[in-house]
């Protein structure tokens, strides 16, 4: 125990002495938090939009007005011909162009369906998708209003008629704030990066500077060395989780609806997994450079791509979905989002927690056996 403390204290001193490392541990998470929370915003509001009204009737003007009044579109251009559309998209001035076809007003007046064309800039996939669905929805609402007013003009009372109203409500994140979705995920990504990369480095660094040689001829056992080395990083991992969570809650208004205890337990399990992965890299790598590369490969790719952080796992090709089961990040991602946004009881999260337990055990056993055999 005294030896473990000696190692842990020494590791802390290394960290405190290394100003750049301190920055990586304490400042980088905050920078990334703000960067991701703002830059990775999927909220689409005020989508720059141009209109091309080929009809120029009262009906067509009403339609364009409806577009303008919705908060989702910012109508900043009125075009006069199709030829200008390309120009608007190419220059990036607009993401959406709504074209009201000639004869729109006549068709509506005659009780036929009016023709509207919605053009979106597909090079910005997110904006394009949202733009087309918003504009589509808007058109349906407009269309329904037209129908109702026509029916009313014919002297019928529609309030008595049946029909179908669907009211959509978004639970857990009613305002659809991206930050609420991203901050819990960011905890997973940042903690993984920091813990895997730093522990991957720690042993290789001692090998390169020759101090490892000294340690293995001392009475310290490999397991004591391993525990002493990861203990400070477990604490720093916990500290980072707390920092991101607190800043997320205070600065971005992210809710925390779940149990703190459950979150702490699963965080601990997850950090054990990542520290173990780092140690495995460290035992295998031959230089600090290769440790960094291998570490970021293991830490970054699966956590970023296969955890559901940015890309929903359910919409991935089956092979990648299967692959995602092999990394602990996907389970912790579900836990994080659930405890922050939904609450989530132990029973609900049991499969994820069980998976983390299995990963933690397997990884620690693997790391320990690697340390034992490596002279």
């Amino acid at each position: 125990m005294r030896r473990i403390l000696a190692i842990a204290r020494k590791e802390f001193l290394h960290i405190i002495r290394d100003k750049r490392l301190l920055g990586v541990i304490l400042v980088m998470p905050l920078i990334q938090l703000f960067l991701y929370a703002y830059a990775l915003s999927f909220d689409v509001k005020q989508l720059p939009t141009a209109t091309l009204d080929l009809d120029r009737t009262t009906a067509s003007r009403q339609y364009v007005d409806a577009l303008q009044q919705s908060n989702y579109f910012l109508v900043d251009g009125v075009l006069t011909s199709y030829a200008q559309v390309d120009n608007r998209f190419e220059s990036g001035a607009d993401k959406v162009v709504v074209v009201v076809g000639a004869g729109f007003g006549d068709d509506i007046a005659a009780g036929r369906a009016g023709n509207v064309q919605i053009l979106v800039d597909g090079s910005d996939a997110n904006a394009a998708q949202l733009g087309s669905s918003y504009a589509g929805a808007l058109s349906r609402v407009f269309g329904a209003k037209v129908v109702i007013s026509q029916i009313e003009q014919k002297g019928l009372n529609v309030s008595g008629a049946g029909g179908l109203t669907s009211s959509i409500r978004t639970w857990y994140n009613p305002e659809g704030i991206s930050a609420a979705y991203f901050v819990p995920g960011l905890i997973v990504v940042l903690v993984t990066m920091i813990t895997v990369l730093q522990t991957a480095n720690t042993l290789v660094k001692e090998k390169e500077q020759g101090t490892y040689e000294q340690l293995i001829v001392s009475p310290i056992s490999r397991i004591e060395l391993m525990v002493g080395k990861i203990a400070p990083w477990a604490l720093i991992g916990a500290l980072d989780i707390i920092i991101i969570a607190v800043v997320g809650i205070l600065a971005f208004g992210i809710p925390f609806r779940g149990s703190v205890g459950l979150f702490a337990l699963s965080s601990l399990l997850y950090v054990i997994c990542t520290l173990g992965l780092g140690l495995i890299v460290s035992a295998r790598a031959t230089s600090v450079d290769s440790a960094n590369q291998l570490g970021s490969l293991i830490a970054f790719l699966p956590t970023f791509m296969l955890s559901g952080f940015v890309f929903p796992i359910s919409s991935m090709p089956p092979v990648l979905q299967w692959l995602s089961y092999l990394f602990p990040a996907r389970y912790f991602m579900v836990i994080c989002r659930t405890v922050f946004l939904k609450g989530g009881s132990p029973a609900v999260l049991f499969p994820q927690i069980a998976a983390l337990v299995v990963f933690a055990v397997v990884i620690v056993v693997l790391a320990a056996s690697l340390y034992r055999e490596r002279a």
Binding site: R3, H14, D18, E213, V217, S218, A375
Partner: protein, 328 residues
Amino acid sequence: MQFPWTKTDRPRPSGVDDGDAIVVSGLRKTFGDFVAVDSVDFRVKRGEIFGFLGPNGSGKTTTIRMLCGVIAPTSGGGTVMGYDVVDEPERVRENIGYMSQKFSLFQDLTVDENLRFYSGIYGLTPEKYAERRAYILRMADLEGRENELTGNLSVGWKQRLALGCATIHEPKLIFLDEPTSGVDPTARRQFWELLNDLANEGVTLFVTTHYMDEATHCNRLAFIYRGNIIAEGTPQEVKADLTADTILQIAVDRGEEALAALEGLESVDEGYMQGSLVHVNLGRRTAEDAGLREFLVDHGFEVGAIDRVEPTLEDAFVHLVTQQGGRA
């Protein structure tokens, strides 16, 4: 054949504090097809300075690593301070000190923090630590510099601090693997004074070095070459083989070229550079027989003094290696 270190026939109970500091029999280590250490035998007595010499890659470090219980021998074995290196590596490691040429200090920690760390690793009590710390700071001439970063110390101080850290638990046997390489001559001399002090206190020192002048500090030497011990004994005994030979020291311009030319001569058994001087061993021939000065002048070299010198350990070493059919 029954080896003395096998469990059934141990020469004496493990850990008893008498007998030789190191006993090695048939110690062998192979890495795949490569034989790093080829069944070596030797003994190191308590309190002696034992020099373990050999060119790079000859098996010195591998031998030390086996003796420290860091890697297991392929076959054979031995005892270190009475503990079996194969069966009791933990006990071996508690009872030895180890210092390598890398000095094994944490450069971003202060002098005090380094001492404290190694004190923690060896489990010293607070009282013992206070006593050892005071002693090491005095020994290393670092009093008043406890809070300096180790990385800012110059190499001589680092070396002495490393020795202090390696001996913080007062081991009775210290392995020193090229402890003076890359250190200036003054610091080397000071360092050897410290080693002599330790030896006078009864500490056994197992030292590898490639500085032949340092080998003369040793009570006994072993030369290891390509995994085999090719000579063992006191410095005098190692040189005895050569005392009848004629060894000439030649001052000549373009020494390397002159050496190459001389090595082609039939009368020259061995030749090598000693600093800027050329050393040649003529065997039983006399200097006059060989006619080296005329030979060198004929080949356009400017020749200075040619002196017959007493064989040095380096001469002995070159001689031994040449006999093995290799080059030093």
